[in-house]
Symmetry: C2
Subunit: 430 residues, 2 copies
Amino acid sequence: MGLVVQKYGGSSVADAASVKRVAQRIAATKRAGHDVVVVVSAMGDTTDELIDLAEQVTPVPGGRELDMLLTAGERISMAVVAMALGNLGVEARSFTGSQAGVITDSAHGKARIIDVTPGRIREALADGAIAIVAGFQGVSQDTKDITTLGRGGSDTTAVALAAALDAEVCEIYTDVDGVFSADPRIVPAARKLPRLAYEEMLEMAACGAKVLHLRCVEYARRFSLPIHVRSSFSDRTGTWVTDISRTDPSSTQEGSDVEQPIISAVAHDRSEAKVTVVGVPDKPGEAARIFRAVAEAGTNIDMIVQNVSSVATGRADISFTLPKTDGTSAVAALRKVQPAIGFEDILFDDGIGKVSLIGAGMRSHPGVSATFFDALATAGVNVEIISTSEIRISVVVRAESVDEAVRAIHTAFDLDDPDGAAVVYGGTGR
Amino acid sequence: MGLVVQKYGGSSVADAASVKRVAQRIAATKRAGHDVVVVVSAMGDTTDELIDLAEQVTPVPGGRELDMLLTAGERISMAVVAMALGNLGVEARSFTGSQAGVITDSAHGKARIIDVTPGRIREALADGAIAIVAGFQGVSQDTKDITTLGRGGSDTTAVALAAALDAEVCEIYTDVDGVFSADPRIVPAARKLPRLAYEEMLEMAACGAKVLHLRCVEYARRFSLPIHVRSSFSDRTGTWVTDISRTDPSSTQEGSDVEQPIISAVAHDRSEAKVTVVGVPDKPGEAARIFRAVAEAGTNIDMIVQNVSSVATGRADISFTLPKTDGTSAVAALRKVQPAIGFEDILFDDGIGKVSLIGAGMRSHPGVSATFFDALATAGVNVEIISTSEIRISVVVRAESVDEAVRAIHTAFDLDDPDGAAVVYGGTGR
């Protein structure tokens, strides 16, 4: 009966009634004999409301002050959760990120955790109390200013604390039952995955599955910390994310044939756009100049393809995908370097979607690609860009073909749940 | 051009528009060459809303967690004020009570300031920035937990910081023009007092004037720190509270005759009730047993009167006043000790009011009492209890006579403003 770290998102603590329900669950975990550390996000829409308030005062709030403002949100939720536990007769103490020892760099709004020194949490646990910790926040090592961790910050806080406290498991509570083999709103027969390897979860997070953030999975993998993604609305087992690959027979809970290619899930992402730089002079270094210009505009590029250069013109086209929201600044950056590089044009296309097949088993099964592209061809889906890793195949298709592509691949790899339709899934990228 | 500490209450920072207005004023003070430290309360009704939230979760929120919750209110306002200053091109940094070095004891909800170590504030000022500090909060020296200072806490934070930083003045911004010679809703000709001694302000605060809290005036007096009470809606000079007595000719700005008894103001208070313990055996120690019982119920007694004991019965009546809100618990405590002490009955009367005349000049002018009681007699006001200090005379009268008593005394001491009616005054105890 070791330590359990539980993380509850904003929708799990949206109002007083939700907070009371969460408190019941926390108290039950404690009664079962565990030490419990709880990480909470801000209640419901609190963070958005605080951002609205800031924008009423200034169009460009400073990072230090915006972090100070936003961290009020978790301060409220953690105190209220601790009170609700007190009302159940369970001692709970709330701690800010700073009090919990979440030490970060000074990058306001997207701080990185440098160290976790949870001395006060250990004291609270030693006293038999439950520790409630504000997610998403920390304190800068250099300036002692309050910082926020940015997207996925509360999940990352939970995993970081769990690692520092050597917890048995980090439970991430959400409003869905776990990680699914596809978005059930597209594939009604998608099934809940009982178990995923870290690298599969990382690929899924990178490919549009929103249930866990890339960053928290990376952190968990580094410390081999098991994550259990589950619903705060039920007691069902969710999805375990661990370092035991699903191709390891001892972990194959479903008794499936381990010699079959093990494919976990189909992910999709409609948040990207495609930029094509037309007629790039085919000289060494031109592609690097293009990508440097885009990087300096603060944009992360995802997939890249360069077509074969035309013998007649000595020029090639380079296409890449990037977050839609970065499109304007990336195109502007490219326009600036156009005269120097001498390419012909820039095309911006936000009518695309990305569909990915993920599975740790595919690395040893050469037939996966063939099945994948057969399925797309049979469904009449045209592929614009292809990108692969050892455990993933991704394609860019027209946005309107995404649903059809997801369904075709899901069926082709026998991922459909034999027991019928899954519950509706709110956690992937639509 | 020294350091100015400014404190803005919740009504001065109620919404984004108010925050922007306050930021303009702060920026103007900085531009005038001052170093500026600003103490803010929570915006508008934030604190009440947070208390409501706590009550939805538990009827008895723990003190530690309630303080953690409530301090989110000032965290929001201080960050927003700092952002608004940033928007004006003025560098401002916000600090929590803990970051500002407000060290307290561990009495959650009513913590006392033990020490102020404003190292980070000094750094910010040295960098040319304005420091924005959360009022009402500190950090416990022993437990390192976040505390709140209770009633008058933000004013006290401002005065304590001003003292620790050796400020020229602590400006308390409010929604009235300063401290008045009486409540203008009762006395339309009441005038704004340009200057008051600490002890006069203390007596006024104790007698129902709500514009400054007793505790912050006591703190300012201990450090001889000038307080300037003024309106956040105008640039007019308000009321200076200093240790220069108004009988000191050098401080008599109005050129009045210093040989005249200097009377500052008439205060009134309708928040008290009167308890009469009837037929107390006239033996040494009985009064002490009564007041001990009331004190153990957590009640502060204000005025006390004991009538002459009856020769026939050997018994006397003891009356005292106390906050109306403490009436139930005080009476219950007395009922418990009634058999042991053997008094006859307890009467509770919440239909009273207290009217007080305050002025540092009255100590050397024996005619003051005569004029005071003449005025009440002429107005037909019956006096139930009398209490005096060197610079104050207070009487308990029927609640319905309070207005008449205030007007009669105000006129009798020539306090009416020769220039006519003052602006309406929202700061005293109605």
